[in-house]
């Protein structure tokens, strides 16, 4: 079994935007995404691993492939994931 197949080492990438990218100083973060992870658990992991983002993650939604995910949606390490802060267009 290779390291990348090991569930506790399965790491994914979540793209950051707006206030999140600003506070992180980067447009993405790596985060462990073990099998069975949900949109909610991924956001919670980001908040725990990056305290500077925690105050803003609480109001964010996770998106995959340009669609918002329900909090209970199952996600995988290879997914195209984005953390979406409250929208403010117009």
């Amino acid at each position: 079994m290779s390291a990348t197949e090991s569930p506790w080492l399965a790491r994914g990438v979540v793209r950051l935007f707006a206030v999140l990218a600003d506070k992180q100083g980067a447009d993405r973060v790596e985060v462990p995404i073990p099998p069975g992870s949900t949109a909610r658990s991924v956001l919670e992991r980001i908040a725990r691993a990056h305290p500077a983002l925690a105050p803003y993650i609480a109001s964010c939604r996770l998106a995959r492939d340009d669609e918002f995910l329900d909090a209970d949606a199952v996600v995988r390490a290879g997914d195209d994931l984005s953390a979406i802060p409250p929208t403010a267009g117009g």
């Binding site: 935007f17 707006a18 803003y56 998106a63 340009d66 929208t87 267009g89």
Partner: protein, 141 residues
């Protein structure tokens, strides 16, 4: 046949007059236009400029979905939705929604629906820069 809406995310100034001119179908008896502009004050603070950013592919996908919903709900003869990103100065146009229809009621309703849905569903953000103090991400801090 379903109307094909025009949906764009642009980095250059929005020419509202040109957009209006583009919706010239002979069956359009009404054209309702909403124009969002950069305001010089927010919560009593003097605003110098706004910086808009977006999740580019998702923003376009969401804008298209909103436009499709509007064309299915109302008998429109034209629909245009354009949002600008980047740094905008006071008075510049950030967003334009144009809804054309045979009669005014449908164009008003569709225009209102599109701008409200855009604010709730489209991943676009603005950061206000003030005459004094740190900039602030609207809605997030």
């Amino acid at each position: 046949m379903q109307l094909e809406a025009t949906v764009e995310l642009v980095e250059t100034p929005i020419d509202v007059g040109a957009l209006i001119g583009g919706l010239d179908a002979p069956s359009s008896g009404a054209l309702c236009t909403f124009v969002g502009r950069v305001r010089n004050i927010h919560d009593g603070r003097a605003v110098e400029r706004l910086a808009y950013s977006a999740h580019p592919t998702m923003a376009i996908a969401k804008m298209r979905a909103i436009a499709l919903e509007a064309t299915q709900r109302w008998p429109l003869t034209g629909l245009t939705l354009v949002h600008r990103i980047g740094t905008l100065e006071i008075g510049e146009v950030s967003v334009a929604v144009l809804a054309a229809s045979g009669h005014r009621a449908e164009s008003f309703d569709a225009c209102r629906y599109v701008i409200e849905a855009l604010k709730h569903e489209v991943p676009i953000w603005k950061q206000e820069h003030y005459a004094q103090g740190d900039p602030r991400w609207i809605g997030a801090e």
